[in-house]
């Protein structure tokens, strides 16, 4: 009996020892993972740093590569719908829930806001970790690691730039966040301070990046310079034109002039120091024949994958093709059902057509006359919007960008071409006889009488979600126009700026600007705005331009005005905007709403005045 008792005691002691010694392991719950790569085993080689940087590119790409939706907040582009799936960064999740009408959109970007900060976190993560690597890196690795930090800082700067241009003052942080408590009480940093931090990011990127990127889709010096110029151009606009909705901001005319000057200097460097040229040398190419799409002008091909990595694309985000899960959906958004069951999510407004000038006069053509198809001679009357001849001898960018009645594009089903299909407004997927040949018209959704050709592939083989076009966030043509704008603001029309505008106009086969168009600052500004409208349509620039120029009242109507209709080629009214609209609605266009859910959590987070 005693022996048994003894044995039990021994067993208890041993078991107890085993339990106590094991439970005394420090940080039992903080062990290195055995099935995943731990962050402590990462961040050793340049390849690690590059891999991590690609993660940043992927996250930031998703914040910019559907910017065309933003054009719906302007006058010439209708965001009929969007194709976003919430939760999937590669399928437009950041843009989900946004409102893309000319007014009433400022309160619908809470999701976009949080995804933008997702980009901030992902770039911070790379920047901070690669900085740590630098402290122990071999001398031979330093330049490459610094270039990687430069690229990540360029991306972070782009994200913060987007944040301040929508919300004004925003929370700013550059650390890797370990716990919610580190950010849950952050207040908004004044825009001037954020702007300076972004400038520092762009300047570092400019210093460290290569002159030309080794790999398609990675940034080089011109990208950093161009973004630094663009930030200063926006800063100049806010200082010159004011931003009354941002109460903490005090515009300053001297700061505006300084920023225009600095912007012009950066743009000038991009234009002259790197040997960059417009796509296909800025030549217009061949416009082909009316109602035929076998030959299309060069501007059309600028928005096809053939232009990927062209020097005009100063900064672009690459996309994978079939099977990569990284495709763009430009065709799905811009094409009709006839192209792989695309959806015409994007549509040109009727009003864009008159913006395309005559290649003969170099000035605006006689306005089109909207005509119902049922009217006699609708398709033959002079200047009738339904008469294909009314579209002859126009800016080549018109044929490259939009389709009017009896223009053709390629149909494709199951990755196979179905031949050319005409677009005819309100004649949906019907048999049409043209010159004795039977065609099936586009299965399109349009309320303006036009659909887009821009961004819609003219060859089969890829599905609507499998595009491999590199989405441009900075193009040389945009830099030309921003340079012209900046120099015009300082000194009025300059010969080199006029020459740059003429280069862009040459792409549309338009003659040089008439002297009257460059007579003074105001008329030259109109010429620049005109080029921005036609050159950059569908690229997400217009609504940001309208806001920084404070032009919403000018292009639509003043508060409590009679509203402005968007019509179609048949002359029917489609949508009316800014009818009897209060000042508050305009203010809510000029500045976006700080997400109220976050303000409930964080009492330090102030709201923009129009949203209080």
């Amino acid at each position: 009996m005693r022996k048994i008792t003894f044995n039990i005691l021994v067993i208890f002691t041993l078991v107890g020892l085993a339990l106590f010694t094991s439970s005394c392991t420090k940080n039992l719950l903080e062990q290195q993972p055995t099935v995943d790569l731990a962050s402590s085993s990462f961040w050793n080689t340049e390849a690690d740093a590059t891999t991590a940087l690609m993660g940043s590119y992927s996250a930031v790409r998703a914040l910019f590569d559907r910017d065309y939706y933003f054009d719906g907040q302007g006058e010439y582009y209708r965001t009929r719908t969007t194709n976003t799936s919430s939760g999937d960064m590669n399928l437009g999740a950041p843009y989900a829930g946004g409102s893309w009408n000319p007014s009433g959109y400022g309160g619908s970007f809470d999701t976009y806001y949080s995804y933008l900060y997702g980009g901030v976190n992902r770039t911070n993560y790379v920047i901070e970790n690669v900085k740590k690597m630098l402290t122990t890196a071999k001398p031979a690795s330093v330049a490459n690691l610094e270039a990687i930090i430069g690229e990540a800082r360029l991306l972070r700067g782009m994200v913060y730039f987007r944040l301040i241009s929508m919300w004004g003052d925003v929370p700013y942080f550059t650390k890797i966040i370990q716990a919610d408590a580190e950010v849950s009480n952050l207040s908004r940093t004044p825009i001037a301070q954020v702007k300076d931090s972004i400038l520092a990011d762009f300047t570092y990127a400019y210093d460290k990046l290569p002159v030309r990127a080794a790999i398609s889709g990675r940034a080089a010096k011109p990208a950093a310079l161009a973004f630094r110029g663009k930030l200063q151009l926006f800063w100049a606009c806010w200082n010159k034109n004011g931003w009354p909705e941002l109460e903490t901001f005090k515009p300053d005319a001297a700061a505006a002039t300084a920023a225009y000057t600095a912007a012009a200097a950066d743009f000038n460097a991009v234009i002259n120091n790197y040997g960059l040229k417009l796509f296909r040398n800025g030549d217009p190419g061949d416009v082909g024949t009316m109602g035929d799409a076998t030959v299309l002008p060069n501007y059309f091909y600028l928005f096809m994958p053939i232009a990927n990595n062209d020097p005009e694309m100063i900064m672009s985000f690459t996309h994978g093709s079939t099977g990569s899960g990284q495709g763009e959906e430009l065709m799905r958004d811009f094409g009709s059902r006839t192209q792989e069951s695309s959806v015409n999510a994007a549509a040109p407004r009727y009003e864009i057509a008159d913006r395309y000038q005559s290649t003969i006069t170099g000035d605006f053509a006689t306005k089109l006359i909207p005509t119902a198809a049922t009217a006699t001679g609708a398709r033959t009357k002079l200047n009738s919007a339904l008469n294909p001849a009314s579209y002859a001898n126009r800016d080549y960018r018109m044929k490259s960008t939009i389709m009017w009645d009896y223009e053709m594009n390629l149909g494709m089903i199951n990755l196979v071409s179905t031949g050319f299909c005409p677009f005819i407004y309100k004649t949906i997927a019907a048999n049409v006889n043209i010159n004795g040949v039977n065609y099936i018209s586009n299965n399109s959704s349009s309320n303006s009488g036009y659909i887009f050709r821009k961004f819609v592939r003219n060859y089969a083989g890829q599905g609507r979600s499998d595009g491999d076009y590199s989405w441009p966030v900075m193009r040389l043509a945009d830099v030309y126009l921003m340079y012209a704008e900046a120099t015009n603001e300082i000194n009025g029309p300059q010969a080199d700026a006029i020459a740059l505008l003429n280069k862009i106009r040459h792409r549309g086969n338009l003659p040089a600007l008439a002297p009257a168009k460059t007579a003074d600052k105001a008329t030259f500004f109109s010429a620049i705005e005109q080029e921005r409208i036609v050159e950059l349509v569908g690229e997400g620039q217009r609504s940001f331009d309208l806001r920084r120029w404070r032009a919403i009242e000018r292009v639509w109507c003043p508060p409590y005005g009679t509203g402005v209709w968007r019509i179609d080629t048949w002359g029917a009214n489609q949508s009316q905007y800014f009818l009897n609209t209060s000042e508050l609605t305009y203010q809510q266009c000029y500045i976006f709403r700080i997400p109220p859910g976050e303000r409930n959590r964080n009492s330090n987070l102030t709201q923009n005045k129009p949203w209080m």
Binding site: A59, G87, P94, D110, Y113, S114, Y115, L116, Y117, G118, G119, V120, N121, R122, P171, F173, I177, D180, V183, S184, L186, P595, G597, E598, N600, R601, N602
Partner: protein
């Protein structure tokens, strides 16, 4: 506690429980400065929830002569209370010292019939035909802060469930009746079927959506106008219904043929019966099924009534 009385003709069971669930594991709530990069949020032990309740079961069984009968009644009552929460709790239907998913919503003041009604109400961007919401906190505008929390009403599940099973038999005949019901839950009657803001395409509207809404020609319409303010489809008392119900879940009448008839044709037993399911539901709920929980849009079919007759033959 199980008890039997009167020679076990009456048996009873009563249970009382008080259960505290500690450290409920949930995704933590993150600042939106982080959610764009860190999704899903890390899970943490976030709160304690207490459930208290009683359950009772009473059966009476007896026979007099050829008449056998039994009646069983069961009922349960449960309340929950959130006792601790370590993350951020915003305005909503989860809060400390309240039942989990309590009722939370606006109070309506009926449909505005005239512009005068609109002007008399707190400004809320409505026109005649829209539901007027009450400015509960009196700050001169309608926003999320004007919702009322009801500490004793849950939206997801009833506090009380009960059922009654009755079996009667006399000679070859038998009858069983199952009644079932619940109480203590309120929910909003808002779904695809009765929305007044339905889509203009890909939507099949019903006659009720044309007959019921307010319009200039139907100024006494019981529903708000079509295509009106968001007030009309928000969670306000206008659409609030008591989800209590009593349902005649099953009733069955059967007859067993006497053995002596069957022996002649060499059959062991023959039973003929008729059954009806879901014959009757008593409820104030205006929608389809007061017992269904979750999104009413997932529940777009009414409860089927079914009738069957049958014959069982044992050889």
């Amino acid at each position: 506690m199980d008890l039997g009385f009167l020679k076990n003709r009456l048996t009873t069971e009563f249970d009382y429980y008080d259960r505290l669930t500690t450290g409920m594991n949930q995704g933590s709530s993150l600042s939106n400065l982080l959610t764009g990069a860190y999704t899903p949020a890390p899970r943490i032990n976030i709160g304690n929830l207490r459930n208290r309740g009683i359950e009772g079961n009473v059966t009476w069984k007896d026979k007099t002569g050829d008449f056998y009968y039994s009646i069983n009644v069961n009922a349960s009552y449960n309340t929950s209370q959130l006792e601790k929460w370590s993350g951020y709790l915003g305005r909503g239907n989860t809060f400390l010292n309240m039942p989990y998913h309590f009722l939370y919503g606006y109070i309506d003041q009926g449909i505005a019939k005239t512009w005068q009604d609109v002007y008399n109400a707190t400004p809320q961007g409505i026109s005649p035909g829209d539901v007027i919401l009450k400015d509960l906190n009196g700050d001169g505008r309608i926003d999320g802060n004007d919702q009322k929390a009801y500490p004793n009403i849950q939206r997801d599940r009833p506090t009380t469930n009960f059922g009654m099973t009755t079996n009667l038999s006399w000679k070859g005949f038998d009858l069983s009746i199952l009644l079932q019901g619940s109480a203590g839950r309120k929910d909003y009657w808002l779904n695809y079927f009765n929305t007044t803001n339905f889509a203009s395409t890909r939507y099949a509207s019903s006659w009720t959506q044309l007959d019921n809404p307010w319009s200039v020609s139907n100024p006494n319409g019981i529903w708000p106008r079509l295509g009106g303010s968001g007030n009309n489809t928000t969670t306000s008392t206008f659409w609030l219904d008591d989800m209590s119900y009593l349902r005649l879940k099953n009733i069955q009448l059967g007859y067993n043929m006497p053995k002596k008839w069957l022996q002649r044709i060499g059959v062991e037993n023959v039973r003929i019966y008729a059954t009806a399911e879901n014959l009757l539901t008593l409820t104030k709920f205006r929608g389809l099924d007061p017992a269904a929980t979750g999104s009413q849009n997932d529940n777009l079919y009414p409860v089927n009534k079914s009738f069957s007759i049958g014959i069982n033959i044992g050889l």
